[in-house]
Amino acid sequence: MAGTLLQLTVNGHPQTVWIQDKTTLLEVLRDGLGFTGTKNGCAVGQCGTCTVWIDGVSRLSCITLARTVEGRTVTTVEGLADWWRERHPEDVYHPLQSAFVAEGAVQCGFCTPGMTMAGAALLQEIPHPDREEIREALGGHLCRCTGYEQIIRAVAAVGDRGKEDVR
């Protein structure tokens, strides 16, 4: 079968994987590299559970063809803490991860990786988001357990951390 080699950086490490034309980034992450933290809730870009960062921007990996991320940098939920620690050596985890735990924003946890990545991306862009900005940013992320309120609170709690720069 035809195929090609893809080179990319995932969570800070260079990777080379064999892909087909139609291989998605989600398949590369989950099946190829074993980063199963990124979830597959629908495979067609409708639920948000597969959200990762491509060059720091929040993207749906299930509808991203792997060949389009050649040479790019991908961050998954497994790498979020490392990414944060590089910039904030005093922390072990991303503050949003701590906030999700503290605020009860996690139930079954299947939407959590996507929510966390999208929420953390929002905090990069808008360090102190208000409720509406949080709702807007997470509008494409489905959760069936929480009713969303505790997720909003978790993101808001990080945004409210004094005037400390969360970037």
Partner: protein
């Protein structure tokens, strides 16, 4: 008097919050769900499903597939050795259809290959010939023999009819004012974010290992044993981390049986993961129910008698259908005193995906109609809807007409709370045009009083061990499907043993390692596994106290606990937990205790009395504040006030999460969601754009009030919270719409087109 606990509108003071023990794994990507689990050299399975809702299988040719690249095994029907099904009296399923397909999406052929793509590619080469039959889309006696879903079923397409009568119906309706209402409640799907997945391995020694996203490993083990004709003990079913269930993962599914069989064929572990579309076709969700209620009302608005008829559209197979049918009649009397009550329920086979239990199992639909009906009666009687309900509340510590034993009830306080919080008295009738307030009550079980298959054994078992490292292990068959059951066990164990929760590890959902717990359904886990855990922990605490007293040479009454330490004040001695544990192991060998829980016996002795009893019932009330846009038919929900009596809340953050999640799911059911089908039996939108669930942008302000007193039968006084708060939301919204614009809706979901149609009808009525 009972005490009112509150979760503030913008909750800040959650008192007894212990973070979930699995939260960190879930925010760091460490938690392994069924599709994340990999076993060495595993293969991938794929199911070929029927493209027709109803057809005879004429021929299946799988020969072309053998020898294709990567193909390891191919199987066609019936797959299972014997018919199986979750209810012992309705075993009507096979893993793969052999003679007939009865819903679009029913599995016909199973293929295992080296990769999923190879399995899918091979599937396209399989030839299945069908003789297509007319789909059966509605309950009712069919006109021709070919419209029988299961021709061998003795009562045709009527799966089951049940009929119950209590009290003096004739007397109740004699000379009484009566009202009759009808409603159609549409079916809907659980939409757990995690699609079902299974990984199965038929080992060379004949033992079978199954890791599956299931809410009930014990029942899956039992059903697999029957379907495969293998002794139960050879099968081990483990539930890894589960990404939500809501009832949708409560029984064995064709893909689970197929994965085991494919593994036997190819000698390798086989994984099958369902796509979102397959989940919609696998279904087992909320039954569509057509309902009729007629009530006789006496002076001062007291209910004298009620008849309630339900007709369930069951889909192609039995599933939990008998229980679902009885549940559509069981819990009406738990909220309101009904002196005479007649219930008739029918469940029909149709050629659609089988329906089963979804959060609120069978009680959600009749609750909607009952509460709408009460509002319409209140209107006719010129009574306040809350006042009418207060006239009829089932009192605490009473027995209902259908022999359900009610213990604690905070229903009156639930009504008080939502009335006060919503400003009901000041605001109702005084709102701007097209805005309205609606109210509804509900009640739910804290665990089903009887198991799915009759047996006298405990419903939940716990084995607790204390190790010489000072740590405690709790083994219990329960499944944490996201509701936080494992965390509750840790909290209860730490509390009962007087130790730090860090010492406790729980091992759950593994039929090969844990004592049986029947599973995560019917809101039973905190009540039953919680009580079993407390019993095991209290026995261990007594054992350690005995050891401590003996070693320190004093009577047990002279040993006190302070924190983790064992104190003998008169001898001024302090012995830490770790030392007492070592003493105990030295004296008694490895330390282990067990606990079990069996619900109190049900009072009813009639056929059907097994559905409805519970150790205790939760109660809830909801007020909805909405506006109807009369031009485009959209409903805006401004605010929901929800009061819930769950006895003692054990973990406020988790309680709040359960209530919010249930309430928002209810909002989806009333306004958005429909598991609906085209005339050819195709799902109208088997994906998350065609089937929309509430997003973060759809959620209104929700105020939660916790009321109630500790339930003596509950662990530390707790009752259920996982399902109850969903039910009142649906009728509260519908009643608010009636209050806002004066229309009486007749079916869910309340989509804009239905609102506009009802408004036009109202206008025509006025014009005449």
């Amino acid at each position: 008097m009972s005490k009112m606990h509150e979760v503030e509108a913008k909750p800040t003071a959650l008192l007894d919050t212990m973070p979930r023990i699995d939260a960190w794994d879930k925010v760091t990507g460490q938690a392994l769900y069924a599709d994340d689990v990999r076993w060495p050299h595993m293969a991938y399975g794929f199911l070929i499903r029927s493209p027709y809702a109803h057809a005879r299988v004429v021929k299946v040719d799988i020969e072309a597939v053998r020898g294709l690249p990567g193909v390891l095994a191919v199987l066609c029907g019936p797959g299972s050795v014997a018919a199986y099904g979750i209810m012992p009296s309705t075993q009507d399923e096979h893993a793969l259809a052999a003679k007939k397909v009865c819903y679009l999406g029913e599995p016909v052929v199973a293929i295992a290959a080296e990769t999923l793509h190879q399995a899918e590619a091979a599937a396209s080469k399989v030839v299945v010939e069908y003789e297509v039959l007319r789909p059966v889309l509605h309950p009712g006696v069919p006109k021709s023999h070919t419209a029988l879903v299961h021709p061998e079923h003795p009562t045709g397409n009527l799966f089951k009819a049940v009929d119950l009568e209590f009290g003096d119906m004739a007397g109740g309706f004699l000379d009484a004012w009566t009202r009759e209402d009808r409603f159609f409640y549409q079916g809907n799907n659980h939409v757990a974010m995690e699609p079902h997945a299974v990984l199965a391995y038929w080992r060379p020694d004949g033992k079978i290992e199954v890791s599956s996203s299931t809410q009930a490993p014990h029942y899956v083990q039992r059903e697999l044993a029957r379907a495969l004709d293998v002794p139960d003990y050879r099968i081990r079913v483990v539930a890894p981390v589960i990404g939500g269930g809501f009832g949708g993962k409560s029984e064995a599914f064709p893909h689970e049986v197929a994965a085991v069989l494919l593994s036997r064929e190819c000698g390798r572990p086989v994984k099958i993961t369902l796509s979102r579309e397959e989940v919609f076709y696998t279904h087992r969700g909320r039954h569509p129910v057509s309902m009729r209620v007629r009530t006789a009302i006496g002076p001062a608005g007291r209910i004298r008698a009620m008849e309630f008829d339900t007709e369930l559209d069951g889909g192609a197979y039995g599933s939990y259908g008998i229980a679902s049918t009885y549940y559509t009649g069981a819990l009406q009397p738990t909220t309101y005193q009904i002196p005479a009550y007649h219930f008739h329920g029918e469940r029909w086979y149709t050629t659609k995906p089988p329906c089963g239990p979804k959060r609120g199992h069978g009680t959600t639909q009749p609750r909607a109609l009952l509460e709408i009906h009460l509002d319409r009666m209140a209107r006719a009687l010129r009574m306040d809807p809350i006042a009418l309900r207060r006239q009829n509340l089932t009192p605490p510590h009473s027995v209902t007409v259908n022999q359900l034993e009610i213990t604690t009830s905070g229903l009156a306080e639930c009504l008080d709370a939502v009335e006060a919080r919503s400003g009901w008295r000041e605001r109702r009738g005084q709102l701007e045009p097209d805005r309205g307030l609606g109210v509804a009550c509900s009640s739910y079980l804290s665990g089903a009083g009887l198991p799915i298959y009759w047996n006298p054994l405990p419903h939940s078992g716990v084995r607790l061990a204390v190790n010489r490292d000072g740590g405690v292990q709790v083994f219990c068959g329960l499944t944490d499907i996201g509701q936080g059951a494992q965390t509750i066990l840790v909290m209860l164990t730490a509390q009962a043993l007087g130790i730090d929760s860090q010492r406790v590890r729980v091992y759950t959902a593994d039929t090969g390692m844990t004592p049986v717990d029947l599973g995560s359904y019917s809101s039973r886990v905190t009540m039953m596994a919680g009580n079993a855990t407390l019993q095991a922990a209290e026995r261990m605490a007594a054992l350690l106290l005995h050891v401590a007293a003996e070693r320190m040479g004093v009577a047990e009454v002279d040993v006190l606990r302070k924190g983790e330490d064992f104190l003998v004040p008169m001898a001024d001695r302090i012995t830490p937990w770790d030392d007492v544990v070592k003493w105990a192991e030295e004296m008694q060998g490895p330390l282990s205790t067990v606990g079990g829980y069996t619900p109190p016996p049900a009072l009813g002795r009639y056929k059907g009395s097994g559905v409805g009893p519970s150790p205790a019932y939760s109660f809830s009330a909801c007020v909805a504040d909405i506006t109807v846009n009369t031009r485009d038919g959209r409903v805006t929900v401004h605010h929901l006030w929800v009061a819930h009596d769950l006895g003692t809340p054990l973990n406020r953050s988790m309680v709040e999460g359960q209530i919010r999640g249930g309430v928002v799911m209810g909002l989806g059911e009333v306004l958005m969601e429909a598991q609906a089908f085209n005339p050819d039996g195709r799902h109208r939108g088997p994906h998350l754009l065609g089937y929309r669930i509430p997003t973060i942008l759809d959620v209104p302000e929700i105020d939660i009030v916790l009321v109630g007193e500790p339930e003596p039968r509950g662990p530390l006084g707790a009752k259920e919270v996982g399902q109850g708060p969903l039910n009142p939301v649906i009728p509260a919204v519908i009643n608010a719409i009636s209050d806002a614009v004066g229309i009486d809706l007749t079916e869910t979901p309340i989509t804009p087109d239905r609102i506009l149609r009802a408004l036009h009808k109202q206008e025509r009525g006025r014009a005449q």
